[in-house]
């Protein structure tokens, strides 16, 4: 098992290399560059100043030199400084990563605690009114973009009940309750949008599992319906659901970017968005690097959880 994890971690390196290459290049393809923005802001117009700033920021070099310089530093843990704020990108990431992580984790908890029970219920009551309601709910959640729902939650409760979601961030370890009050709304929205697909998958898998021979064996032993689901069917049904959660990880991060913006959560999404507006290349690269590692790590965790769910994998 340890050798397996080691191998998987090694395999991350080339993947990350290519991912970073793509990020680095595509970033330079966004029209408008940082120097233009800086010059515009400071009312400096002369070509000489432009060259000076470019040289200072290392942007006068060819892109591939910039890239290798960046990746060389990145390996040592130095992701450069923000072009605007003059602080190390690593510091900015360290500050924002835990916040996004918390948001993602809360969203995942929401998603699973909505999707799995409803998915199982839907499968057990196939083609009843309850099943249709659950499936319609899932379709609606699939169709509604979370930014729209987010805006709705911002606007309507304040109009109707003079209630608005908390918009001030408090670190979790300072005051968990206030922190959760702020985080829970975006987490629920993100979780709900994630739960749609997960629920459908849970339903499909449970229907599939309930048709298996070993379920009939369990029934023939006198296992009741509740125990049948919990002990005999659920674990078998969840194996593919876990894969799906891994596949949804990038989606989760994408959703987080938008919801962090709406609910003013100072996570990586907000950091990324600001960096993109300002063409703050080192920050963008840094965020993408972390996101890339994050997605790969999530998928590694997904693989490892198979070991817990599926004894066949555990012993191989």
């Amino acid at each position: 098992m340890r050798a397996y994890i080691g191998r998987r971690l090694l395999a991350l390196i080339p993947t990350l290399f290519f991912a970073s290459l793509i990020v680095f290049i595509s970033m330079r393809l966004i029209p408008g560059d940082v120097i233009d923005l800086m010059l515009a802001q400071n009312d400096i117009v002369t070509g000489q100043d432009r060259a000076k700033i470019e040289a200072a920021l290392g942007l006068d070099q060819p892109v591939y030199i910039q890239y290798f310089r960046w990746i060389g530093d990145a390996v040592t843990g130095d992701l450069g400084d923000s072009l605007w704020q003059n602080v190390p990108v690593t510091d900015q990431l360290m500050a924002s990563l835990p916040i996004t992580f918390e948001l993602g984790l809360l969203a995942l908890i929401v998603a699973l605690s909505v999707a799995v029970p409803i998915g199982v219920y839907s499968a057990m009551r196939q083609d009843t009114a309850g099943d249709y309601v659950a499936r319609s709910f899932s379709l609606i959640m699939l169709a509604i973009p979370s930014f729209w729902l987010g805006t709705l939650v911002m606007v309507f409760p304040s109009v109707w009940w003079r209630w608005a979601p908390e918009l001030e961030y408090t670190p979790f370890f300072e005051d968990p309750i206030t922190n959760l009050k702020h985080m829970i709304v975006p987490a629920i929205l993100l979780g709900l949008s994630m739960s749609a697909v997960t629920m459908r998958m849970t339903r499909t898998m449970m229907l599939e599992v309930m048709r298996q021979d070993y379920i009939r064996t369990a029934r023939a032993k006198g296992v009741g319906e509740k125990l049948l689901v919990v002990r005999h069917a659920l674990r078998n049904g969840l194996i593919p659901v876990v894969t799906l959660i891994g596949l949804q990880a990038p989606l989760l991060i994408g959703g987080a970017v938008i919801l962090e913006q709406i609910f003013v959560v100072p996570g990586m999404g907000l950091l990324l968005l600001e960096a993109v507006f300002q063409r703050d290349y080192p920050v963008i690269s840094g965020v993408f690097l972390v996101v890339g590692v994050g997605v790969l790590v999530i998928n590694l965790l997904v693989d490892l959880s198979y070991g817990w769910l599926d004894p066949k994998v555990r012993h191989e």
């Binding site: 298996q212 021979d213 070993y214 009939r216 064996t217 369990a218 029934r219 023939a220 032993k221 006198g222 296992v223 009741g224 002990r231 005999h232 674990r235 078998n236 769910l309 599926d310 004894p311 066949k312 012993h315």
Partner: protein, 326 residues
């Protein structure tokens, strides 16, 4: 019903709702079984053997409907019990062994847990006590080092070993009836013989009645006390095993006998083969279902269904045939 009758199936009819409409899989089937007796049910694929077996424990899927009939077990009609009452009979008084050892065990639960489960469900025992009994059961079905294997998963076991586990599981609560639906069809020939011998030995030891569904007439000759031959969802002939071999009456049974090389000899996979196609249950002929393949068929056969009547005044030997000149 005499006092040593364990199971009495009376006029059982079962159908399935399908895309092609309602399909009758079992029609007006009656049979009875004494305590400790072994009854073999034989017949071609699709003749309704499994449906009959599953109906006893009400394990037909959602689309299966029991149209009428009674299944009286130890004096109670299983078909009119509540779901909770039938659940308490399953795995306790009546156990079942299925055909596919590869898919009939749960891949994510340990062998120990699966064997011990019925004991936990039906007896006032906790898991540890149930595990101890499971070790005894696994030893009984000749799983070596049973104690060490409790934590193994089904994929560690070969097909034959899994079927032994299924037998151990079936025996767990000392049931009065075991229904084994082609328990060896999926196994190697040599393993088949071992498993059947084991099943026979253990049921005999514990005086457990056995319904053995099989394609293999060699198996029937060796282990069964009684035989029921099914065709097109009905029993067409039933008799004591010896009587049936000595004096088969129904043309279908005669055909079955002729299609096997010899009753004695190794228990190879003698799949039943008779000229012609098995009947289409959705479109059964109006008379005797076998008429399309029967060389003795005459006009009466095509208009009405023959009753399962005693042969030569022998009430234990019955055949459903209008008769034909020999």
């Amino acid at each position: 019903m005499s006092s040593d009758t364990l199971l009495d199936i009376e006029h059982l009819s079962v159908s399935f709702r399908t895309d092609r409409g309602k399909v009758r899989a079992v029609s007006d089937l009656s049979l009875s079984l004494k305590r400790g007796e072994t009854l073999a049910i034989v017949g071609e694929s699709g003749s309704g053997k499994s449906v009959t077996a599953l109906s006893i424990l009400r394990l037909l899927g959602d689309n299966g409907v029991i149209d009428h009939g009674r299944v009286v077990f130890e004096g109670r009609n299983l078909l009119s019990l509540s779901t909770d009452e039938i659940r308490r009979i399953r795995g306790d008084r009546i156990a079942m062994i299925f055909q596919e050892p590869m898919s009939s065990l749960n891949p994510v639960l340990t062998i120990g847990k699966q064997v011990a489960e019925p004991i936990c469900l039906h007896r006032d025992k906790n898991w540890d006590e149930a595990f101890e009994i499971a070790v005894e059961l696994l030893t009984k079905v000749a799983i070596p080092d049973a104690k060490e294997r409790l934590d193994d998963y089904p994929h560690h076991f070969s097909g034959g070993m899994r079927q032994r586990v299924m037998i151990a599981m079936a025996l767990a609560c000392e049931p009065r009836l075991i229904i084994a639906d082609e328990p060896t069809t999926a196994l190697d020939v040599t393993v088949q013989a071992q498993i059947l011998a084991l099943l026979n030995e253990l049921t005999e030891q514990s005086q457990t009645a056995l319904i053995l569904i099989t394609h293999d007439l060699g198996v029937v000759a060796r282990y069964a006390d009684r035989v029921a031959v099914m065709y097109g969802g009905r029993i067409v002939e039933t008799a004591d095993a010896k009587e049936l071999y000595a004096n088969p009456q129904h043309p279908y049974t005669v055909g079955l006998m002729a299609s096997i090389p010899g009753i004695e000899g190794d228990a190879g996979a003698r799949l039943i083969t008779i000229d012609g196609q098995p009947p289409d249950l959705a479109d059964l002929p109006s008379g005797c279902a076998f008429a399309t393949r029967c060389q003795h068929a005459h006009d009466a056969c095509r208009t009405s269904i023959p009753a399962l009547d005693p042969v030569e005044q022998n009430p234990s030997h019955r055949s459903a045939c209008f008769g034909y000149p020999l």
